[in-house]
């Protein structure tokens, strides 16, 4: 922890100095002169209280507050979101809209494993009394988890190990798949999952109920070793008595099983009933908040504190009594904040909205909080298509774009540029700053360099098949006796400002280097079908954005296994060196930071050379919120639903 705190402080100092230096190696183009890679806040300082004492402090980046945190929940907070809240509260498998995804986290708590504010995986001490790990002779790994006594559901009924085992069985079962085609993808790493999921076995081999408060999960040998293997022990409970009334959990030698009338028909009523089903109207939950109402005509959800919630991993209970989530549009969201019809807008990006929000802050009407995105916008190459199957061509395109200028124009100055597959909030980046400056190619715009790498790749001919000279226009290459032009098919989605900006910055520079950029604008499903090679046309490149998962697993994204091509490896890249560099990360134990960092740096170096994507920008997100909201502290890995539990309001 100390090392990572130090990393954060170093990062703060580093970015401040980088910003002061102006044109920097690291590509930061932020407008925010005091921007640190983690957070910035304009709220005044707070005295530490018990609730905050155990919260990981970020010192200069921690929120400053103007009132004491209350001891009982009070007040109301209206949160504006640009993504509609749907009446769908089971889990993201049913509805993975950004808002629903997060709201599910507010309702369904007591997961056995959580991530801290720094992104570290650990068991939740409020939930887990004891975790024992055993590596078995057959290569499997068993986690035995003892649950704390005294946890209850929101209806005051006791929460036991059966609720955890039930969740594992339910969400792996063929019966559940019959409920609106639930995609049972949560626990696929369990031993015996495939047999249970197909209905071949009634018991799930990798799950055992040991006693009322203890259960175990066994991970299949094929899934190990795995850097984030603690995540395999992550289980979120489901209320057995509510979802499968009259059913019970029984442990057998073959694993745990559900006894009683456990059928799809029952689940269609308890989960799928549009009025009373758990998917639409969950009334027995164990997260920090519970659902009060959902108004379908306005798509507004009202949530209230779950008084029975025992607290977060560090013992914090929510102190904002009522939370309302409503939709806003990007065009008027700042006006809504000014008018007081919303109290919080989170993850605002784009120069116009940010400037408007900052005006409110300057006028004393609102507060702000900023942090960098854990991901980036990118040009994604299809590395199976000629000519972007050549890394030289991909590099040449990178040399044709002034990415710092691109990020500045796109974001109004509220974005940064990275040079590998990482985000600025990652500790690996913070620890590798000097190494990155020394080892990664920053691909500064350089048309001569682009010509050089193209020439080295055999693009030395003109349309007549003679040696290429400047002024000949398009470059050609002799491929098995056929003269092929250096044309890049680019697919972009409509109404996308990134596409529009690339369309003004790239074509002329590429033309100067001897390439031709042919753009096709489509809607997003068509673009996706191009990436997946489903459609009639395949393209060389796309512009997209990505957010890293907390279990970021590049070994899957660059796997050469045919099964991964087009799915997780959506670059369709078959590069042994890159695949090996990524694969080397997978087996490193979760607590071996030194080994991980060394392998990570090697992976970034290879990635930076192979360049399956060109990173374009990484946004500096802004949260804007009314002055009544206190203690607000988010980051790219500590989102608004996490921060909500720690914040409070002054009316």
């Amino acid at each position: 922890m100390k090392r990572k705190l130090l990393s954060v402080l170093l990062a703060s100092a580093m970015l401040v100095s980088l910003t002061a230096c102006g044109n920097n190696d690291n590509g930061a183009v932020t407008n925010n002169e005091s921007a640190a890679p983690k957070t910035e806040s304009t709220a005044p300082a707070e005295e530490n209280d018990d609730a905050e004492a155990s919260e990981p402090s970020t010192e200069s980046t921690a929120p400053e507050v103007s009132s004491e945190r209350p001891t009982t929940p009070s007040g109301q907070l209206i949160i504006g979101t640009t993504t509609d809240l749907e009446q769908d509260f089971y889990d993201p498998i049913y509805n993975n809209s950004a808002t629903n995804y997060k709201v599910c986290g507010l309702l369904h708590g007591y997961g056995t494993v959580i991530t801290t504010k720094e992104g570290e995986w650990q068991t939740d001490p409020v939930v887990v009394a004891d975790l024992q790990t055993a590596e078995n002779e057959d290569g499997t790994k068993t986690y035995t988890i003892k649950i704390n006594d005294g946890l209850v559901w929101s209806d005051d009924s006791p929460l036991t190990a059966k609720d955890y085992v039930f969740a594992l069985l339910l969400e792996s079962s063929p019966e559940m798949m019959g409920v609106d085609n639930y995609a049972a993808t949560g626990y696929t790493t369990l031993e015996g999952w495939a047999d249970f999921n197909s209905g071949s076995t009634k018991a799930l081999k990798g799950v055992h109920l040991i006693d009322d408060m203890t259960f175990s999960v066994t991970i299949a040998a094929s899934e190990l070793p795995y850097h984030y293997d603690l995540a395999y022990a992550s289980v979120t409970p489901r209320p057995l008595a509510v979802l499968a009334p009259g059913c019970d959990i029984e442990d057998t030698e073959e694993g745990a099983t559900i006894t009683g009338d456990f059928t799809t028909e029952v689940l269609l009523e308890t989960i799928g009933n549009t009025d009373t089903g758990y998917r639409y109207n969950p009334q027995v939950v164990c997260g920090p908040y519970k659902l009060v109402s959902y108004d379908a005509s306005s798509r507004q959800g009202t949530f209230e504190v779950n008084e029975k919630f025992a607290g977060t991993f560090d013992g914090v209970k929510p102190m904002i009594k009522t939370v309302i989530i409503k939709t806003v549009t990007a065009d008027t969201e700042i006006n809504e904040l000014q008018a007081g019809t919303v109290d919080l807008l989170f993850q605002i990006s784009g120069g116009d909205s940010i400037e408007a929000g900052l005006d409110l802050v300057d006028a004393g009407v609102a507060q702000k909080h900023t942090f960098f995105r854990y991901g980036y916008g990118k040009i994604q190459f299809d590395c199976s298509q000629f000519p972007t199957d050549s890394e030289n061509v991909r590099q040449a395109i990178a040399y044709c774009l002034d990415r710092n200028e691109f990020a500045r124009q796109y974001s109004g100055g509220y974005a940064t540029v990275v040079h590998g597959e990482y985000g600025l909030s990652q500790w690996e980046f913070v620890d590798s700053k000097d190494w990155i400056d020394e080892n990664l190619n920053t691909y500064e715009k350089d048309i001569e360099k682009a010509k050089e790498v193209l020439a080295a790749d055999g693009w030395n001919l003109n349309a007549s098949g003679e040696e290429y000279k400047d002024g000949d226009g398009l470059r050609y290459k002799d491929v098995d006796g056929e003269l092929k032009p250096l044309e890049i098919q680019w697919c972009n989605s409509e109404g996308n400002p990134v596409s529009e900006l690339l369309g003004t910055m790239l074509p002329d520079a590429m033309k100067e280097a001897g390439m031709e950029l042919k753009a096709t604008t489509t809607d997003f499903p068509t673009l996706l079908s191009g990436i997946n090679h489903d459609g009639e046309t395949t393209y060389n490149m796309y512009n997209l954005a990505t957010r890293f998962s907390l279990q970021h697993s590049p070994w899957y994204y660059y796997s050469m296994d045919e099964m991964y091509l087009g799915s997780l490896n959506d670059n369709w890249i078959l590069d042994q060196e890159l695949a090996d560099a990524a694969w080397a990360l997978k087996a490193i134990p979760g607590d071996d930071d030194a080994a991980w960092l060394a392998a990570w740096q090697n992976y970034q170096k290879v990635w930076n050379q192979k360049l399956p994507n060109i990173p374009l920008y990484s946004d500096e997100y802004h949260d804007f919120y009314s002055n009544k909201l206190q203690g607000w502290d988010t980051s790219s890995i500590w989102d608004w639903t996490s921060a909500l539990v720690y914040a409070w309001v002054t009316e």
Partner: protein, 327 residues
């Protein structure tokens, strides 16, 4: 008898056209690039599990069948009142379409009432006072009204009435946290409806005023108007009974289309004012390749249009006895 035969013929025609359009629509949407199954799947899943789930989902949706079989199943279910399964919301279409339809109809009804209450008297007055200063002012204003894009008027209205002078809410259908019921709930929704109704009405008032005016000017030129006046009838009777009734035919045409349009959502208005209606749902359905939703809405509009034509014909006979349905 002749009317009955005419209506029967039109009914058969409607059925025929309905099926032809249903085949065309189904074929068009099926040929669009983009995979609805892929759109509803989570992609961060192990490939073997993904493929298994993909095939199961495809089978559940019936997309593993040949397209003609899919069409027959779809149209048969549709005729039974089963509009299919929304891949975006993972619910039956009939469960997701009700609330947006109610919102759209509510907005359109108020907008229509507002438009006709203003536009018809205004059109008549400007026709009667043709070439007066009042008429010229109304002409200029109505031209502006229907030529300025809706989104410009919407943003202007938000700026003036919600930001500069915060009289009405910026967006939404109800106040966040509002718990009132009955009349209080209606008033709250009505308050949110003012700006979208106002914006929708500006264009409508512009066009219908000009329709009514032109129609009335034609009617006022007729000999029977001169006769009515020479008989010593009051000017109000001449205008509202004799002239206006004869000017109704073009107005009936416009009114019928407005009635049909009650169910057609405005993408622009709904998006700007966050009024959750059918226009927004249609766009979302198209963007997500949620073909069941889109096709159900399209076929609903087809039926409305075809039925609207018949209603229009019947309305003609009511306002003008010279019109016979057999003609």
């Amino acid at each position: 008898m002749r009317t009955g035969r005419y209506l029967l013929k039109r009914f058969i025609y409607i059925i025929f056209v309905f099926f032809i359009i249903s085949i065309l629509m189904f074929a068009i949407y099926k040929s669009l690039p983009g995979d609805p199954v892929r759109m509803m799947m989570q992609d961060n899943v192990k490939p073997e599990v993904y493929q298994q789930q993909y095939e199961a989902t495809k089978k559940m949706l019936g997309l593993d069948q040949p397209v003609p079989v899919q069409y027959i199943k779809w149209i048969t279910n549709m005729l039974r009142g089963d509009f299919g399964y929304s891949t975006e919301y993972r619910r039956p279409v009939k469960d997701v379409i009700g609330v947006p339809m109610r919102n759209t109809v509510l907005l359109n009804i108020f907008s229509m009432i507002f438009v006709f209450l203003i536009a018809v008297p205004l059109g008549i007055t400007t026709a009667v006072k043709k070439n007066s200063v009042f008429d010229k002012i109304v002409q200029v204003v109505t031209i502006i009204g229907y030529s300025v894009p809706g989104f410009v008027i919407a943003l202007l209205a938000i700026y003036v009435f919600a930001i500069r002078f915060p009289i009405f809410p910026i967006s939404g259908v109800k106040t966040a946290g509002f718990t009132g019921t009955g009349f209080a709930a209606f008033l709250d929704t009505a308050r949110h409806m003012v700006l979208p109704v106002l914006v929708m009405s500006v264009g409508g008032i512009g066009s219908i005023t000009r329709y009514v005016r032109a129609s009335m000017i034609d009617a006022l030129r007729m000999d029977y108007i001169r006769t009515a006046r020479s008989k010593g009838l009051k000017e109000k009777v001449v205008v509202y009974v004799h002239a206006f009734r004869n000017a109704l035919i073009p107005i009936v045409t416009v009114t019928t289309w407005w009635l049909i349009g009650l169910f057609g959502g405005s993408v622009v208005i709904e998006s700007i004012f966050l009024w959750d209606g059918l226009g927004k749902m249609m766009i979302t359905g198209l963007n997500q390749r949620d073909f069941s939703v889109v096709l159900a809405m399209q076929m609903f509009y087809v039926i409305l249009s075809l039925a609207g034509n018949v209603l229009m014909d019947i309305a003609y006979t009511m306002v003008d006895p010279r019109v016979k349905l057999e003609n």
